[in-house]
């Protein structure tokens, strides 16, 4: 490795560290919203509670879709790191990124569908403290997924244009941390909002 590529390499790793620190601070944001939800969970103000509202099989499918997208992103990342500068691997990376993107869109569509249904049932965020907290928590996660999808689109375009380079691999690694992190947050939404809500 020449000195110049070494410097580039370290710069990339350092950027990734900054991004990791950002993700950790994002975890703190989610923690405070989780704490708010936990506190307001029972304040239904005579309205519907978590157990009355959610369809569990629907949420299970949603969870498995997001998990699958986290997995397929891993496959994209693996091919990006594996054989650099090969036309074949570029195609594989684009393929897995596209699959991940579609699964992410599917997840988001299910979430929007669920939100619309709740609003139609009169269980909007203005109904009770519980529902305000619910929409804040799940909505914030949904916004993160939306941002992740926009970013994924941009990275896919860059891979198509520039191929698998040091820069694009670094970006794929950063989005990978973000995407896996979003699934980890969802594990806790699934557990604390839906599973415990259904008990």
């Amino acid at each position: 490795m020449t000195k110049e590529t070494l410097i580039h390499h370290n710069a990339g790793a350092r950027n990734l560290f900054g991004f990791w620190a950002y993700i950790m601070s994002d975890a703190l944001l989610f923690a405070s919203i989780f704490a708010t939800y936990a506190v307001l969970q029972n304040n239904t103000f005579g309205g519907p509670s978590a157990g009355d509202l959610f369809s569990m099989p629907f949420v299970l499918v949603e969870t498995l879709i997001l998990l699958a997208s986290s997995f397929t992103y891993g496959l994209a990342s693996l091919h990006a790191h594996h054989h650099r500068n090969e036309e074949n691997c570029k195609r594989k990376v684009i393929f897995w990124l596209a699959i991940t993107f579609l699964l992410g869109v599917l997840f988001l569509a299910m979430e929007v569908f669920e939100f619309t249904k709740l609003f139609q049932e009169g269980a909007g965020f203005q109904r009770s403290g519980f529902l305000s907290a619910f929409f804040t928590l799940v909505g914030t996660h949904g916004l993160h997924v939306t941002a992740g999808l926009l970013w994924m689109g941009s990275i896919t375009a860059q891979v198509i244009r520039h191929g698998i380079t040091e820069r694009t691999v670094n970006k794929i690694a950063a989005l990978g941390l973000f995407w896996h992190f979003l699934y980890i947050v969802w594990i806790f939404i699934f557990t604390f909002v839906y599973l415990i809500g259904a008990i």
């Binding site: 370290n10 790793a13 350092r14 990734l16 560290f17 991004f19 990791w20 620190a21 950790m24 601070s25 975890a27 703190l28 923690a31 405070s32 989780f34 704490a35 708010t36 936990a38 506190v39 029972n42 304040n43 239904t44 103000f45 005579g46 569990m56 299970l60 969870t63 498995l64 998990l67 699958a68 986290s70 997995f71 891993g74 496959l75 990342s77 693996l78 790191h81 594996h82 009770s128 403290g129 690694a173 990978g176 941390l177 896996h180 699934y183 980890i184 594990i187 806790f188 699934f190 557990t191 604390f192 599973l195 415990i196 259904a198 008990i199």
Partner: protein
Amino acid sequence: MTNDFKVIDEQYEAGRLALRSYVTGFVLSIILTLIPYFIVAKHMLGNQSLIWAVVLFAVAQLLAQVVFFLHLSKKSKPLWNMVVFAFTIFVVSFLVIGSLWIMYNLNYNMTDTSPSKTNEGHIPQ
């Protein structure tokens, strides 16, 4: 001491074991999602133990994700990624457990009417 800010283990990510790791994590996560789902759906335990059980499964899945999906570098020196990670876990549990503890005590000390059914919290007479 050299400052090596590596977050993910790139060598591992490029190696042959990475695929096995992703598949293991995927299968493990599916199992750790389905088990709590079904014990809740079939109501296999008492309410209190159900809550503890699903929280335990969530933490187990968090660990599975960190080990098999994130591929955090163990060679980062000093272990900055781990330090930041551990600190975050600490603050997150502090925040969530602390809030619940305080609010539980608040409700406990003001239970002359049902505080759980109001929207703004209970106002003592």
